[in-house]
């Protein structure tokens, strides 16, 4: 049995390593064709919420199907063997474990608070039914992805001078890292607190594992009631009594520590040996679903979705229309990490309450590179569609590029407009052909009474697709004198100015 524990540790190391590798290569220069979306694709919670809200499954999410089948057969092994955040929780709670065995046994008693994760799951599923995918807030894969991509990796990078060109900034991402590190620190108080109390993915797998065909089974006749099996039980599944199947993460520590070798992994054991039921309480469970269903219209009452967009809500190219986007995006941050310019940022308020940490383009920080479609390539959920380059650029026979917004000159701040000073940077960097930013040569009388010829910039909205490089590069330092807002985005039939152009 000890051998199997070592095999489990090996798998944990392999999957954590694979996860970190896939996060690390999610940069423009390294990503190639690596399946960086694989872990989220494997995630049945993301698949379930996506299926409930969008009524479709992105291709990457089909990996969840074999995992569901395996969980029905073998139990909740994902948490103990594969989950990268689980490995971190496991390692930290091991390092912080109490010296005395009795204290460890006490820390691994089942608590009624461990039912909370099932209610969280039901609320998340309720929100999905109402059309808002909020799985990513607490889902361990999305949470770990987001924390690494937007805060921890850039911070490491800034500290040691890593592969990025200069330090990346992601707006308010320290908050994400703080929540993530707090979740890890919770292991100092109670082993695997996050997994046991909060994790909605663990709850979903627990429900699936409830009647799993194979289970760890303790032989009561061989048991001497020494309780050693509970000393390192990851799930607080109480192997010393009737093992709670839904809480068991199959870490095998119970079997390895049993002095009389009473544990075995059995096919269809007698049901008396296990506690199958999870006492959710019918009214509490229904209340959780209703709370989830109600949360969505409440959130939309505050911000709306499509009719009143925030001008700063500039979605990446290929993003689906906002309703359909919110049905899918789990805020993992992969698109932000892969964006070569660092312009894709986690939204705080710009996309409403529901869109917290979803990607928006902040052109002052970075623009949308014309020849890049990486955000759609790495998106696990299909919230950002993978565009082909001719599609993005609107090459024939297509009539329109994919627009993400439109640029506007701020004549009160622009050098040639407000200061009679030459500057052409926005026109210079504009990547379309013919250029969307163009000049009219105008003769003006300056303050000193002298005539001056100036090239003053204008934007041709039929050419501009909102890449934002003009705003990124504008030499007016803090607030640029040419700025992009979301109006004109291809994905919305409402968010328009021009009568012509930008058809769907």
């Amino acid at each position: 049995v000890k051998l199997f524990v070592w095999i489990r540790r090996g798998w944990q190391a392999v999957f954590l390593g694979l996860f970190l590798f896939l996060v690390a290569v999610t940069t423009a220069s390294l990503v190639r064709g690596y399946p960086v979306e694989w872990f989220l694709g494997l995630d049945p919670l993301v698949a379930a919420t996506s299926a409930l809200s969008a009524h479709t499954l992105a291709r990457a999410l089909l990996w969840a199907v074999p995992l569901v089948v395996l969980t029905l057969v073998f139990g909740r092994f994902f948490c103990g063997w594969i989950c990268p955040m689980g490995v971190l929780h496991h390692a930290i709670s091991w390092a912080a474990r109490a010296r005395r065995t009795t204290a460890r046994v006490a820390g691994n008693r089942y608590l009624r608070a461990y039912r909370v994760k099932y209610w969280i799951l039901l609320a998340v599923l309720g929100m999905a039914i109402a059309g808002s995918n909020q799985a990513g807030l607490l889902d361990p894969i999305a949470f770990t992805w987001r924390a690494l991509a937007t805060s921890i990796v850039p911070a490491l990078d800034g500290a040691v001078g890593g592969p990025y060109q200069g330090l990346r900034h992601f707006h308010w991402s320290t908050l994400v890292a703080a929540l993530f590190l707090a979740a890890l620190a919770a292991n100092l108080f109670l082993p695997r607190l996050y997994c046991r109390v909060l994790c909605p993915l663990g709850a979903l797998l627990g429900l699936l594992a409830q009647r799993s065909l194979f289970r760890l089974t303790g032989d009561r006749r061989a048991c001497t009631d020494c309780d050693l099996c509970a000393a390192d039980c990851q799930g607080a599944a109480e192997p010393q009594a009737r093992l709670r199947v839904s809480e068991c993460m199959l870490c095998l520590n119970c079997a390895a520590s049993c002095p009389s070798g009473a544990f075995s992994y059995r096919f269809l054991p007698s049901p008396d040996a296990h506690e199958e039921s999870i006492d959710l309480g019918r009214r509490k469970a229904a209340g959780a679903v209703v709370a989830g269903l109600a949360a969505v219209p409440l959130a939309r009452a505050s911000d709306g979705v499509d009719p009143r967009p925030d001008p700063r809500r500039i979605r990446p190219p290929g993003a689906l229309p906002e309703h359909r986007f919110l049905e899918r995006c789990v805020k993992c941050g992969a698109c932000m990490k892969v964006c070569p310019t660092g312009g894709l940022q986690p939204a705080l308020s710009q996309a409403g309450l529901e869109g917290l940490w979803s990607p928006i383009l902040v052109p002052r920080l970075g623009y949308c590179e014309q020849s890049c479609t990486l955000c759609g390539q790495v998106c696990p959920t299909g919230a950002i569609r993978l565009l082909s380059l001719p599609e993005k650029l609107g090459q024939p026979p297509r009539e329109e590029p994919v627009r993400v917004g439109s640029a506007f000159v701020d004549r009160g701040r622009c050098l040639p407009w407000a200061m009679d000073t030459p500057c052409i940077v926005c026109e210079e960097v504009c990547p379309t052909s013919p250029k969307a930013v163009y000049f009219k040569v105008e003769t003006v009388v300056a303050r000193d009474g002298k005539e001056r010829r100036l090239e003053r910039p204008y934007v041709d909205l039929e050419r501009c697709w909102g890449c934002g490089i003009c705003e990124t590069r504008c030499p007016v330092f803090d607030r640029a004198a040419i700025r992009v807002t979301s109006v004109g985005e291809s994905r919305s039939p409402q968010n328009r100015i021009m009568l012509k152009g930008g058809r769907l």
């Binding site: 030459p422 990547p431 250029k435």
Partner: protein, 125 residues
């Protein structure tokens, strides 16, 4: 690489020095000709090579599409950056006087705008 440019008319050898700057170099566009010449005065290159294999006639220096590109299969080299810029400008159909940095460069004694007066060797390969 010889390219059309909205403000300076042409981006040629001397303007290449912008490439050694990082940071907020976009601010220099407020006085681009002076900046180009000042940068060129900073260092005298042993030899400047100008790639005119393909030149960009419009929508430069970035952007543009293949219709704006003309294929010349020409590479020019000179010890005189100003002369080389004047030659490059002629490829874009511009007289040296139309590119202000060329005259300023000559004033700064960085070289001669009249490239034809130099010893020019043409080598066909």
């Amino acid at each position: 690489v010889v390219k059309q440019h909205g403000l300076s008319r042409a981006t040629l050898a001397m303007k290449n020095w912008y490439g050694v700057l990082g940071g907020h170099r976009a601010r220099l566009h407020q006085d681009i000709h002076r900046s180009v010449v000042d940068l060129a005065a900073m260092m005298k290159p042993t030899l400047t090579v100008m790639d005119a294999t393909r030149i960009l006639l419009a929508n430069g220096p970035s952007g543009g599409n293949l219709d704006d590109v003309k294929r010349l299969d020409t590479v020019a080299a000179s010890t005189d950056e100003v002369a080389l810029d004047a030659f490059g400008a002629s490829l874009l159909g511009l007289a040296p006087a139309e590119v202000a940095s060329i005259a300023l460069g000559e004033q700064a004694k960085l070289g001669r705008a009249d490239w034809r007066s130099l010893k020019v060797e043409e080598i066909a390969t």
